[in-house]
Amino acid sequence: MPAVGQNIAHDSGRLHVSGASVFIDDRAPLPGELVAGIVPSPHAHGRLIRIDVAEALRVPGVLAALTADDVPGHNHFGPVIANEALLVEEEAVFLGQPVAVIGAEDEDSLRRGIAAVTVEMEPLPAVLNIDAAIRADAYLIETRLIERGDVRAGFAEADGVVEGELDIAGQEQFYLESQIALAIPGESGQMEVLSSTQHPSEVQAMVAEALGVPFNHVVCTCKRMGGAFGGKETQAAQPAMMAALIAQRTGKPVRFAYGKDDDMRFTGKRHAFKSFYRAGYTNDGRLTALDVRLFSNGGCSTDLSPAVLERAMLHTDNTSYLPNVRVTGRICKTHLPSNTAFRGFGGPQGVASTEHVLHEVAVATGRDPLDVRRINCYGTDDRNVTHYGQIVRDNTLPELFDSLRAECDYDGRRAEIDRFNAASAMQLRGLAVSGVKFGISFTRRAMNQANALVNIYLDGSVVVSTGATEMGQGVNTRIRQIVADALGVSYEAVLVGATATDKNNNTSPTAASCGTDLNGSAALVACTKLRETLDRVAAEILGDSEAGLAPEPEMIEIAEGVVHDRRRPDVRIPFLDLVAQAYERRVSLGERGFYATPGVEFNRETGKGTPFRYFTTGAACCEVTVDRFTGEMAVTRVDLIMDLGRSINPGIDRGQIIGGFVQGMGWCTTEELVYADDGRLLSYSPTTYKIPAITDVPEAFNVRFLDNPNHTISLHRSKAVGEPPLLLGLSAWLAAKDALRYVHGRSLTPRLCLPATGEAMLMAMSSSQLVSTAQR
């Protein structure tokens, strides 16, 4: 039985449940190992007047104290534009930016060393949010534009117009394992870096540039991460660079680990967005024109913000065909840690903006919000070209909406909720359906490439290495499944080792949901090459020229470790024997595969192209109950259908779906980043920053996979799953909005931004609170 398609347990599952899986900080300290930590900037924006580390160096146990001047290579870094200083030079641009990095023999000495550093800094005015940045005209890049049709004409044919602004909050990744790196100096200036990173190649490059050594002097290895969610795509680099700088200076191994509080305070998050929107609609709820201006809070440097903004703009359609649309985007430069990748990568914000518009159109037209979503939905044969010119092929969205509507009894429940809300003095209920159409590929074309190395050993066991990093999402399990089938060996015969830059070079981050698509495809290429060799050898062994059966490699079948020639099914040899014979014949038992996603192309200047290989689609229905007196909200039921093509591993995919949804739900409900006026993050630990707990997830959570045989273009006909379900968490927010429709009557929509915290809900309802009392 092929491994692909099986519900195989996560390849670290047995280790995780017994506490035996090794994360970086689980390693016992190496002999002489130091701990490193930072002296953080006390101001969000400040001019550095003086920094003095002399006292710190006198603290017993402190062995190094480095400032910007001590960085031998580049102190500036960034994945696209190197405009962030690792260590503060003249000006600090976010609160917590490292002013100095200290290395010490133990935690106590480190604490004392950090305290002994003198930092004199003149505070400068700080810009912290989008409104302030717009007022200050503080931006990171030029305005981006994507448009289609004639917006002016669209408004002219509209029966009505909705317009307004929407604040969309950021989100903390809240991976449980905080950022960490261990740098081990080697000979001749070389450096080995163990990093909890989604992007070992970038850590390798950043460390090499900071140290001033060639890339080939640095090996970055990542065995696994305790969660990442985008937060370790670029920002794993800083801890690694700082550990490596101290290691280079002292010649000792150095561990740099952020505690959870500092990790939350000092590293980037999902971008907050603000949307200024104006939309024209017909009386039946169809959008005729959409004019959206998106602003993101980029933080202090570029990081990945342009790509995040671009994805937001490319996802402002979500499931809706927009005949006349104009989307502009700007990145605000603020004095916050540079905002970065987080599962969805701008997509959720772009989608939130448009789903909000659809909700307002529903309120304005008096139509059910699901009817409005459905009437605007992309068609299968027409109305199926996106605003950037990509055709939505094999569109399953109409089927998803219609199946979900029937399966979850949307209409029956709507009627019940109408009755309930009319009668209940204590609670309100809300119901909403939202869909997702998520583009799969990096929008930067060059990143859509991967390489893989597959080695077969003489005992028949196999190791595969790729640039994919394991953060819990199961990419290693899937790659094992793919390689096992491709070579014809058992799943157990294949191992995926730690990801390392000396095995796989110039790799892309494991991100954009395409870790399996890219790396699995590269592994498949390598396996195909190996099979060509092995099949040729097998044909020689199994063929029988005297009997008229000339060796024919195409006749060779290898499955579950057994090899035979289809013409002689009775003669079978173990894979192990084939490998031994191949070795004797001196043929290669290791191959490298290379893969580049075909057909992706996007022109930034024109805003047109086919940036995505395909779309992953889905829909969810969410119901909430709100306490009229306190605003507290509970999600009481979720029904969800995803089109994942043919799942490579349904168990793992199911975990991605539910986990992603719940993360999106958290963003939309309880998770709120609260800042003080001086830029200090006040919600910097799980005590104050509330990700969903187990009781926030409804017991009634129904997940179904859409059977879609038409998706044929990607690996094993599967679809990527990592990010799309997160966007369905927006259905919780839309359900909250739906509940609010019943407070004020349908002519008035209370403006509910994102997230829908209890406080936001109560404030949205509060003007009616005593009214509802009086009405009883």
Binding site: S18, G226, G227, T630, T687, I694, V697, E699, L762
Partner: protein, 516 residues
């Protein structure tokens, strides 16, 4: 008197001396015992990744409970059996729940997983079948960012308890009980690096140590009950004092008993009684409180944190403070000089300040139960339903008889520097029929009489609105005739999330600590 801690770790005896006694258990396990399965994420008891099991001898047998190893000092674990995730294997084999977790994809990144496995082991120790609700209530203290929890619940519910070994089966209890019982009867003093840790075996020893410390050092030692508050404070950088006394193991202070007093009973809660024991004792006597305590922290916090500690912390967001105020609880305190009883209204003197003298400690809290026709209503409003600190909490006690309410007591948490009664608001309601108009007047006055802060848990406006609305909510519940005479409120509408039978607000946390 011993000068070393005696405990068991994964079935083997262990003697701990010196600085190691002061380490948090998680650090001790990871760095001193090469047991890195136990993870640390938040170091403040709010994520559950560090969950371990701690067995204590009670009535001659080992009772294991989940604890948060990042806020439990090794010193607090004298005379206990600590079992970590590494100690849950059956030989080399995964246990039945671990197998189910693997099968159901209950682990993704794996970082929360050891804590979850330990917490579920704790739930399974009772031997009671685990249904979905029990698993969900049992894991409110364990955050997972990957799975959305669904697979974890399925794994726990799918586990066949018949084939899952309890800890008494993995670790034959007899020798451990014998060793720990004898250890528990001894006092312990560990000195190292200028610091003294003392674990008394009797209350007299405790009071003597307290008096001596005050006399010799001019200030009291840190008194640890469960340490769930002080553990956080020290993890987050506050200096530890030079001496500490752990009273959590003092059997004299761990009990509960009911006394009669006039027309009602009084529950006398020992000074080291955990919130969990308090909650269990109130299930029949004061179900409103028992259910409210479901939202106090999380199970491992309630396993360690004490009722007295929550009062002594005297935080305006301490979850038990409002209810103690409206129930007219009394605090029994003792010193080597003698004993006295302080009414709750006098015990809290300001922001994190109490009426305790430096040489005094709480030995009991006297909690009056409800008399005939009396009702208690508790609300807690927070950002997240479980394991959260309240933005505002409200406690309301009243008698409802002959169409009139009297004996009205109102207290809010989270709206002022300390928790105190709202006399003027009470007066508006006192002696009147509980009409919605009357409640509206009280609600307006409540909002006017407070000046709450704006902070990370909510704006001043939000808090003021909540103070009003909680009274309105109560008014609606009374108006709807929802009280059925035993102090309980029937659900006016469908319950939130179906987990508890009350359609109440919900939400919880607050911390205990034994600070004196």
């Amino acid at each position: 008197m011993r000068d070393a801690l005696h405990l068991y770790l994964n079935g083997r005896p262990l003697r701990v001396t010196g600085d190691d006694a002061w380490l948090m258990l998680s650090t001790f396990l990871r760095r001193r015992r090469s047991l890195p399965g136990t993870k640390v994420v938040c170091a403040e008891g709010d994520c559950g990744s560090c969950t371990a099991l701690v067995g204590r001898v009670e009535d001659g047998r080992l009772v294991y409970r989940s604890m948060l190893s990042c806020i439990q000092r090794v010193a607090q674990l004298d005379a206990t059996h600590v079992v970590t995730v590494e100690g849950l294997l059956e030989g080399d084999r995964l246990n039945a729940f671990q197998e189910a977790m693997v099968r159901e994809h209950g682990a993704q990144c794996g970082f929360c997983t050891p804590g979850i496995v330990s917490a579920v082991q704790g739930l399974m120790e009772s031997g009671d079948p685990l249904d979905t609700t029990a698993v969900r209530r049992g894991l409110t203290g364990n955050l997972c960012r990957c799975t959305g929890y669904d697979a974890i619940v399925r794994a726990a519910v799918a586990t066949d308890l018949g084939s899952h070994r309890r800890l008494d089966e993995l670790y034959p209890p007899e020798p451990i009980v014998e060793a720990l019982s004898s250890a528990a009867s001894e006092s312990v003093t560990v000195r190292s690096g200028g610091r003294t840790f003392f674990k008394p075996a009797t209350l007299d020893e405790a009071l003597g140590f307290l008096a001596a410390a005050v006399r010799d050092e001019g200030k009291p030692p840190m008194i640890l009950g469960g340490g769930t508050d002080l553990g956080v404070v020290h993890n987050k950088g506050e200096e530890m004092p030079a001496s500490a006394m752990f009273i959590g193991g003092l059997d004299e202070l761990r009990g509960l008993r009911e006394e009669a007093s006039g027309d009602r009973g009084v529950l006398v809660v020992g000074g080291a009684t955990t919130l969990k024991a308090f909650q269990s004792a109130l299930a029949e006597r004061l179900p409103e409180v028992a259910e409210f305590l479901e939202w106090f922290g999380s199970p491992p916090i309630r396993h360690a944190g004490t009722v007295a500690g929550n009062l002594c912390t005297a935080s305006p967001i301490g979850d038990t403070l409002p209810l103690m105020q409206v129930l007219d609880a009394e605090v029994e305190v003792a010193s080597a000089r003698g004993r006295r009883t302080i009414p709750m209204a006098d015990f809290l003197t300001g922001y994190r300040a109490t009426a305790l003298e430096v040489d005094e400690m709480v030995i009991a809290v006297r909690v009056p139960l409800l008399g005939p026709d009396e009702h208690l209503r508790l609300y807690k409003v927070s950002r997240r339903k479980d394991l959260d600190i309240s933005s505002v909490s409200g406690a309301f006690a009243f008698r409802h008889r002959d169409g009139v309410v009297d004996r009205v007591r109102v207290a809010y948490g989270g709206v002022a520097a300390t928790v105190s009664r709202m006399g003027e608001v009470e007066a508006v309601l006192e002696g009147h029929p509980p009409t919605l108009d009357r409640f509206a007047a009280a609600a307006t006055l409540a909002a006017e009489s407070i000046t709450p802060l704006t902070d990370v848990r909510g704006s001043a406006d939000y808090r003021r609105t909540l103070c009003s609305n909680l009274l309105m909510k109560l008014g609606h519940e009374i108006d709807g005739g929802r009280f059925n005479g035993n102090g309980r409120v029937d659900s006016p509408d469908a319950p939130l999330n179906g987990s508890l039978e009350l359609a109440v607000t919900g939400q919880t946390n607050g911390r205990d600590g034994g600070a004196a």
